[in-house]
Every structure is written in structure tokens, then in C-alpha cells.
């Protein structure tokens, strides 16, 4: 085929492109994934308890702020990753800072506590369910984000897969936090941040396979 002929074919009956099409696709995927994860939580645990206790609700706010912060920064980094030639380093730094902040807060809490109590703080009552539930709740958001990214043009598939995994993991953790926010900041740092990072690693491994175009 001659290149000029191909160009003629491509330019014939050209359709205009809507502004913000890529952003909308990713945001719709995020909303669908979040809704699916939330439904799964409702199916597994029912509606959250009506009146949570004072201290626990402050931790819940912290857990939600951490996870939703990751979702917001990650989603906007994801839109950039789906555009060829845009690095978006500032957002990567922001994500790093969120993890740094939660680990620092955990460290401070541990330093202020007697070492004998560390085990009880870190290994809260639900650490095992965090390990299982966060990745489980991340599956649907990850699938919908992959669907959206395949409509974009990611050029770094490992990195894009990792960010998709991170966003899906953070979203899974956010819906999990509605029910169980754990008993302490170190608990959140270990059993929320840990599974989220694991989701990012899985995303990085799956990226080249799932996102090729």
C-alpha cells in the first residue's frame, strides 16, 4: 500500500474529537470500578455501622484521606500516562509524599509508645482481612481502568500498569476503610499501604501484557 493512499483513507470523512475525551474515559472507568468495589463491600459486610466511636472515626478519616489522596493523584497521573510523551513527575512525587507521610506518622506513633505494646498496635485485629480484602476489592477497579487505558496510548506499559494497580489498590483500600479502619496509624501504614503497593507491583507485571496496542 502506498503511504499517500493510506493518508487519503485516514483523512476521508474525518470526525472531530471531543475535548477531554481521554479524561472522561478514565474518570468513567474509575467511577464504575469504585461502584463495583463498593457493591462488593456491601455484599460482604452489609451497611457500615451507624455511629462509629470517636477515636475510630478519626482513624477512619485518616485512612480515607490517605487512600482517596492516592486515588486522586494516581488517577491524574494515569491520564498523563495514557498520553504519549508526558512524564508527570510532580504527581509521582506527590504519591511518594503520601506514603512518606503515613510511614512517618506511623514511626512517630511507635516511638511514642512503649515497645512492649508495638505488637498489639501493628498487628491489629483485622490485619489478615486487610491483606485479603484490599486486593480483592481492587480487582474490579483494575479491570475497568485497564479497559480505559486500552483506549488511550500508554507508551510505558510497566509504569502505567503500576499506577493502575496503585489506583485500584487505593480504591479497594478506601472502600475497605468504610468498614474497618484498624486501630492505629501504624496499622494503616502497614496493612493499607502494604497491600496497595502489592497491587502496584502486580499492575506493573501485568501492564506489558494487558496494555499493548
Amino acid at each position: 500500500m502506498k503511504t499517500d493512499d493510506l493518508i487519503d483513507v485516514l483523512a476521508t470523512n474525518l470526525e472531530p474529537i471531543k475535548r477531554g475525551e481521554l479524561r472522561n474515559t478514565v474518570m468513567i472507568a474509575l467511577a464504575i470500578g469504585a461502584a463495583a468495589a463498593f457493591c462488593l463491600v456491601l455484599a460482604m459486610f452489609g451497611l457500615p455501622a451507624a455511629a462509629p466511636g470517636g477515636e475510630f472515626s478519626a482513624l477512619k478519616v485518616l485512612a480515607l484521606a490517605f487512600t482517596l489522596g492516592l486515588v486522586a493523584a494516581g488517577a491524574s497521573l494515569l491520564i498523563r500516562s495514557a498520553r504519549p510523551g508526558e512524564p508527570g513527575r510532580k504527581l509521582l512525587v506527590l504519591i511518594g509524599l503520601l506514603f512518606f507521610a503515613i510511614f512517618l506518622a506511623a514511626l512517630v506513633t511507635l516511638v511514642l509508645t512503649h515497645p512492649a505494646a508495638w505488637g498489639g498496635i501493628v498487628l491489629g485485629p483485622q490485619w489478615a482481612s486487610c491483606l485479603v480484602c484490599i486486593p480483592l476489592f481492587a480487582v474490579a477497579p483494575f479491570a475497568s481502568l485497564v479497559w480505559a487505558l486500552r483506549r488511550g496510548a500508554p507508551t510505558n506499559l510497566v509504569r502505567t500498569g503500576a499506577i493502575a494497580g496503585l489506583v485500584a489498590g487505593a480504591l479497594g483500600a478506601a472502600v475497605f476503610a468504610i468498614h474497618h479502619s484498624g486501630g492505629s496509624i501504624p496499622f494503616i501504614a502497614f496493612w493499607y499501604a502494604g497491600p496497595i503497593l502489592a497491587c502496584a507491583v502486580v499492575g506493573a507485571l501485568l501492564g506489558p501484557r494487558l496494555l499493548r496496542w
Partner: protein
Amino acid sequence: MNARSTELDLQRLMLAGLDGDAAAHKALLTRLSAHLRAYFRTRLARIGMAAADAEDLVQETLIALHTRRHTYDRSQPLTPWVYAIARYRLVDYLRRSKGSAMDVPIEEAEEVLADDNPSSVESSLDLDQLMARLSPKARQAIQFVKLDGLSVSEAAARSGMSQSAIKVSVHRGLRALSRLAAERKR
């Protein structure tokens, strides 16, 4: 023309094309094809691979640029976006042809480099063959709208599909073509 004014010129054509200006889009793709040809020929020759494949890569990249043009951010320069896509297609090509194309002698590459008449350059891509592998709906939509030049409403009337179904089929079909072109056996 220096790089900066070339960039502004190409970006102007791109923005007009995104808003539906077919003539601007055609001019853009024609000018980019010359840049891409030079880019791929140099790259392939440098690593001792057949420059004959450069035109395949040019066309694969043009289809990719066209089907992924919604990923261009209107506030950013165009050239980095184009070359990021070209580089992605090149890396993908090199990974797929690992081993099979490595034994092509370099002399052959130089011969092709000497033959530089853009209007006569042909690739080994065969549109009819690729089209045969599309779904019937997508094939018909592309045939009517892209090859026969029927308007979307004419194509809709003739095929019995809705106008939006025609548009979606054309878009999906072109994306599938892009994938088929990249994945076919060489």
C-alpha cells in the same frame, strides 16, 4: 524552516484536524510521514536492520497517530507526542521481529536508503488483506465511509445501521487495523 516554526505549523494543523478539518489532517499526516520516514530509516539502518521495513513502520505509526489522536493534549507541543508514538511502534516492532530480521545484510538497507522518492514508497501492508480480518460490521463501515467516501448518513442508510453505530464501527475498525498491521507475520 527551523524546528520551532515547524512545531507551531504542525500543531496548528493537528488542532484543526482534531476539530474535523480533513484537509489540515491530511496535510499533517503527509508532512509527518516524511519526518517519520527519515526517523525510522536512520534508526533501522543504525542497528543493521532492513530499512525496507521503514515504510511499514511509517504506515503503522500514521494509523496509530490517527486512531490515538484523542490522546494528544491540546496545550502541549505536538512533536514529543508524535515521537513518543513513533518510538513505541519501533520498540514494539523490534521486539516482535527479534531473531527473524536480524540476519538481513546491511547493504540492502543502504540500497533502500538511496531510493528516496516519497510518492512511490510502498509498504508490505495490504489493506484488503487486513480488512478481510475485521468484523463484517467494521469492514462495511470502513469500506463505505473511509474508502468509498460516503457520508456517515449515506453509509447508515445503505447499511441499515444507525449513524452513531457507523461512527463507532469505523473507529473500532481502524483501531483493530492498527493492531492487525502491527501483529501480522513479516
